[in-house]
């Protein structure tokens, strides 16, 4: 099957000499379209760095990241930013909502940045699915953590990116909310045919994925 996301001999080291940290150590990965992949590893195993590389947020020392067969690090910074905005939705542990914008504005922000028209019907569909239709005008600081993360998920989905990258999306949530957020994320992604790559240290969450990749010291030990 044609990979949607692929890394080839990816390397990223931090520090020098005794302090050398091999965050990513010659990693090859292939992620297929429509797949829900969980990347599991202890903290410090290099999984976040890997996700940042996959999303083009950081450049590797060597190696390639191919999105739909295109080497993203061959693009200039500016083009890469546009490419990223169109192809990838990010979800972070800390939600990263803009505090001065309300729920609706936060969700459609990336679409606006891209100078595109908002597909209101589609976005409302997502908002209903995440159960926030009566909170459109609320500001992020009036929402609970779970609600904020649901908004962040809607924001990531709203511009219909092919790939969703989630970095410990439930790290700050209690176990019930965690389960809820993951099941919602999973059903949305499968509904809209997107590819989800999620980082987690929680193997329970990883059970729900189609595939689990275990990372240790920057290397894939089990895929």
């Amino acid at each position: 099957m044609k990979a949607i996301l692929e890394t080839r001999d990816l390397v990223k080291y931090y520090g020098k000499g005794d302090n050398l940290v091999k965050a990513i150590d010659h990693t090859d990965l292939i992620i297929e379209p429509g797949e829900f992949t969980a990347i599991v590893g202890r903290s410090g195993s290099g999984k976040s760095t890997l996700l940042h590389m996959l999303g083009g947020l950081d450049r590797p020392d060597s190696g390639k990241v191919l999105i739909e067969g295109r080497d993203i690090f061959k693009l200039k910074d500016e083009k890469l930013a546009v490419f990223r905005r169109r192809k990838i939705g990010f979800i972070f542990q800390s939600y990263n909502l803009v505090p001065s914008l309300n729920v609706w504005e936060n969700i459609v922000l990336p679409i606006g940045l891209d100078g595109k028209k908002v597909d209101t019907e589609y976005v409302m569909d997502i908002i209903c699915r995440i159960g926030m239709e009566d909170k459109l005008k609320s500001l992020p600081n009036t929402l609970s953590g779970g609600q904020q993360q649901r908004v962040a998920i809607a924001r990531a989905l709203a511009s219909r990116p092919a790939i969703i990258l989630a970095d410990e999306p439930t790290g700050n949530l209690d176990s019930k909310t965690e389960l809820e957020v993951i099941s919602m994320l999973k059903s949305c992604v499968s509904e809209y045919g997107q590819t989800l790559v999620m980082i987690t240290h929680d193997e329970t969450i990883a059970q729900m994925a189609d595939r689990m990749i275990v990372i240790e010291d920057g290397k894939v030990v089990r895929a």
Binding site: R150, A162, L179, I182
Partner: protein, 378 residues
């Protein structure tokens, strides 16, 4: 004519116009300079008609003025406080010069504006093109996905057939052996009875296995249509509990359902009930006697969460994500002792995913399993 050609033509026309205007202005300037010279000559001749020939010669001379003449002119200018800019010819020339410059600047300005507009249009074109290209890629990906889905389904069915044949092999082999032995001579009545009983057991097992296999193959080949309808979650759950109640009673296992506010959710009650039965059936099968199975239902913002907590040994963490795989069975002795096809939880996950629900297993506080099911509220 496309836009690029049109702008090209417009640009050429503009340039030609600019060129012609400038030439015209230059010609007019030259003409008026020429008239000025003529006037000057006329004035000189009129004031001193006697020197007419000399003046003509001076004006007519094609060669350059020599230094001496220039110096003399300069001296005269200085003496009378006269600057070259007071002269009519310079003024005319300056006026025409300014005119030409203005025309030129205006032309430049217009072409700059045109250039900017053109650039903007081109950028828009490029953006549109990019968008089209992306749409094309999206479509291509969609087709690719559909094609791959088809081939995956085909592979899936192939591997399902392989798996099923494999599953059927063992019980049939043992049935065959049993039959062969029973058919051979020299058996006492009791021995024969025993073989019959074994065969019967084996057939029973086969029947159970086939039942689950039929479920799986129907689900995989899309013959089971999950038909979600609005209905009471409590009803579905209670029916499931009832159907395993006797089995639990035989092992003195108590099934308790925590009180909860019933909700109407969209779900396929038959198949969702099957999921609950599978989970409870496992819990009863693998829990020791005199234990309790607790069911807890919690309403969350977007979904209902159901927990099935038993007091058994629990699934080891490293196996947890594999129990939902088709035909996977644990390696522990107590698992192998029990009958099972490795289909129940796989089926459960499939059925739930069809309804946008999820299932996972956690370690319960007392060490048993906690199967957590979520079903969306809408």
């Amino acid at each position: 004519m496309d836009r690029r050609k049109r702008t090209g033509v417009a640009l050429a026309a503009g340039l030609l116009f600019l060129f012609v205007t400038e030439i015209l202005l230059l010609f007019l300037a030259g003409n008026s300079l020429y008239k000025e010279e003529q006037g000057k000559l006329g004035a000189l001749v009129l004031s001193h008609p006697e020197q007419e020939t000399e003046y003509i010669e001076l004006f007519d001379r094609g060669k350059q003025r020599n230094r001496q003449e220039e110096e003399a002119g300069k001296e005269l200018e200085e003496r009378y406080g006269y600057t070259p800019f007071d002269g009519r010819s310079v003024k005319t020339f300056a006026a025409y010069g300014i005119g030409m410059a203005m025309v030129f600047v205006a032309g430049l300005g217009v072409s700059w504006v045109l250039f900017l507009r053109n650039k903007r249009d081109r950028q828009q074109d490029e953006n549109n093109q990019e968008e089209l290209r992306e749409k094309y890629i999206e479509l291509q990906n969609h087709f690719e996905k559909v094609r791959e889905k088809l081939s995956r389904e085909e592979n899936n069915i192939k591997s399902l057939i392989t798996d099923i044949s494999h599953q059927l092999k063992t019980p049939i082999a043992s049935l065959k052996m049993s039959c062969e032995l029973a058919g051979s001579a020299d058996l006492t009545w009791e021995e024969r009875e025993e073989f019959y009983k074994k065969e019967w057991d084996e057939i029973q097992r086969l029947e159970n296995l086939l039942d689950s296999l039929i479920h799986v193959s129907r689900l995989e080949s899309g013959m089971i249509q999950i038909q979600p309808e609005m209905g009471s979650l409590k009803n579905t759950l209670v029916q499931a509990v009832n159907s395993v109640y006797m089995k639990a009673y035989e092992k003195s296992i108590d099934i308790s359902l925590d009180e909860f506010q019933d909700v109407q959710i969209v779900h396929d009650s038959k198949w969702t009930g099957e999921v609950f039965v599978n989970i409870l059936d496992n819990a009863v099968k693998y829990s020791p006697e005199h234990t309790e199975i607790r069911i807890r239902v919690t309403e969350l913002a977007t979904c209902m969460m159901l927990e099935f907590i038993d007091q058994g040994t629990g699934i080891p963490a490293e196996e947890a994500h594999r129990v939902f795989q088709r035909f996977y069975r644990g390696n522990q002795e107590y698992v192998k002792k029990q009958e099972g096809s490795g289909v129940g939880l796989y089926l459960a996950r499939k059925i739930l995913e069809e309804q946008k629900g999820t299932i996972c297993v956690k370690v319960a506080p007392e060490g048993g399993n906690n199967f957590v099911v979520t079903l969306p509220k809408k």
